[in-house]
Amino acid sequence: MFGYIRPAVGQLKVCEYETYRAVYCGICHALKEHFGTLSTLSLNYDFTFAALLGLALRPEFPGYENFTCAAHPLHKRQRVRLEEEVLPYVGGCVVSMAHAKIADNISDSGFLKSSFCRLTLPLTARAEKKAGGKFPALPALCEKMTEDQNRAEQDPSVSLDRSAEASAAALSGMMEALSEDPMNKRILKRFGYLLGRWIYFIDALDDLEDDLKKENFNPFIKRFQLSYPLSAEQKQEVRGYGRELLNITGAEMAAAYELLELKRFKGILDNIVYLGLQQSIDRVFDRADGKKPGEGTEASQSEYPKGRKLL
């Protein structure tokens, strides 16, 4: 369900691109220090955005340091220096969500996938416990999310909004804790709610055909009474509706985001909120059509080359 919240890389300044990487590596470092080396595998872009936002709201900034990454031993890199608040907290969110996801997969998937998840479960459980020790609110948030999601999926008359509620509420709780300022907390609460919703819907659209085939729960299947195989018109209809829904959620996210008082990183965050989200929607729909990245109708007419990858 992760990796949709990311910048439109081509529109970043080079220094912003380097900053984004440094924050990504900073969380990776925090994960390794606090939750063990294996936990770094669960790192994703969505929480890199959360860390950027958290760091942007703090008055003080920890600065950068040089390091050599074990995965790329030949290159010197820079990362955000480990501090005591934002990075460990975001790391805690990453492992808690990863654990919830794996536990959920075991109950939902077929034999092969669930056996694989069963093998990794003890590892994520250990990391999650550590996270819970450090940030007691996190396990409760994730538990509530799983429970509420299951309840929504059992409900035969579930609406799109209702089915997104569990993820939205969890992200809302996680984002709220990124600031101590009561005003920022209020804004982050709404922003996080909408962010969780946005991620849930784009993930549901991304998995639509897979879910249809495997008869998994998907809110859009319920909403449009879909059955496998999907006709071209149905696909268009769902996508059109889905895009509008994502656009509306994104516009409300932007309205909340603009009220936050950012101390730094405005360029990168603006890029993600205004360009990155749109690009993710295009990417998901292109991918469903079997197009490779950069093959989209828009991109092929671009006057720029394909450019670099995100990381």
């Binding site: 609406s159 005003m183 919703r197 829904l245 509306i248 409300e252 932007a254 309205a255 009220l259 749109q278």
Partner: protein, 243 residues
């Protein structure tokens, strides 16, 4: 709250020209315009921001004026002429603040609720952020007496909670039941506009960097109306019946 540097609030440097200051103010005023935050649970935060920006704008303009009066005679004259021209137009301090801004805020719920609304209790609860109670009261209404206002208020509650799909459906139902109501229409138009990839309210001009002018002036007023009409039509309503 500690006093903030007005130049920082506007995001301009200390040696910015009057033009730059005005442009920066215009951008911020568009961004925090109350129309963009109508019915939003964060409306009060946006209101506060707007006041901060207004205060900063006044402070910076005053500072600019003081600075220029220290300068040479010729400069001072041309500057004051320019400034006089600006204030005569009623500029932004008049346009945005006194008229649109005050109206839409203080007018808001209270104003409408006073006109024989059958749901004035619900409106008051929404205003006080008591969403659960407001919804209980609404859900207790028998389905036969659920009119346009019922759907509008239900939509507002959904909207505040972040249930944007249900909110749009209720706003749409409200507009179908009371096609002439500007309040319901504005709510639906905003969501249709956002659905098409817009930000803020339609015609707010926010995030339209190609048009640095104000959102609604004589030139693009018609265009905005047409756009609003298109939005209405695609949702099953109509704003301008002849087109």
């Amino acid at each position: 709250m500690p006093e903030k540097d007005p130049y920082q609030v506007l995001g301009v440097s200390r040696d910015a020209t009057e033009e730059q200051v005005k442009a920066a103010y215009r951008e911020l005023a568009k961004k925090y315009h109350p129309d963009n935050y109508a019915d939003s649970p964060l409306a009060d935060v946006a209101n506060e921001k707007m006041q901060e920006v207004n205060a900063a704008y006044d402070a910076v303009l005053k500072d600019l004026k003081n600075r220029s009066s220290d300068g040479s005679q010729g400069y001072q004259q041309s500057y004051q002429q320019g400034y006089g021209g600006y204030t005569n137009q009623g500029g932004y301090s008049g346009g945005y603040r006194q008229q649109q801004y005050r109206q839409s805020y203080s007018g808001g719920y209270g104003g409408f609720g006073a006109y024989g609304s059958s749901f004035s209790d619900v409106r008051r609860m929404i205003q006080q952020n008591r969403l659960v109670e407001a919804e209980e009261l609404l859900d207790g209404t028998p389905s036969t007496s659920r009119d346009g206002e019922w759907h509008f208020l239900k939509g507002t509650i959904c909207y505040q909670r972040g249930w944007l799909d249900d909110a749009r459906n209720h706003f749409s139902a409200a507009c179908q039941m009371s096609p002439g109501n500007p309040e319901y229409r504005a709510a639906l138009n905003r969501m249709s506009w956002q659905g098409q990839g817009g930000y803020g309210a339609p015609g707010s001009g926010y995030r339209q960097t190609s048009h640095p002018g104000s959102g609604m002036d004589a030139c693009n007023c018609c265009g905005n109306l047409l756009l609003a009409d298109c939005c209405c039509e695609c949702m099953g309503g109509d704003l301008i019946p002849c087109c």
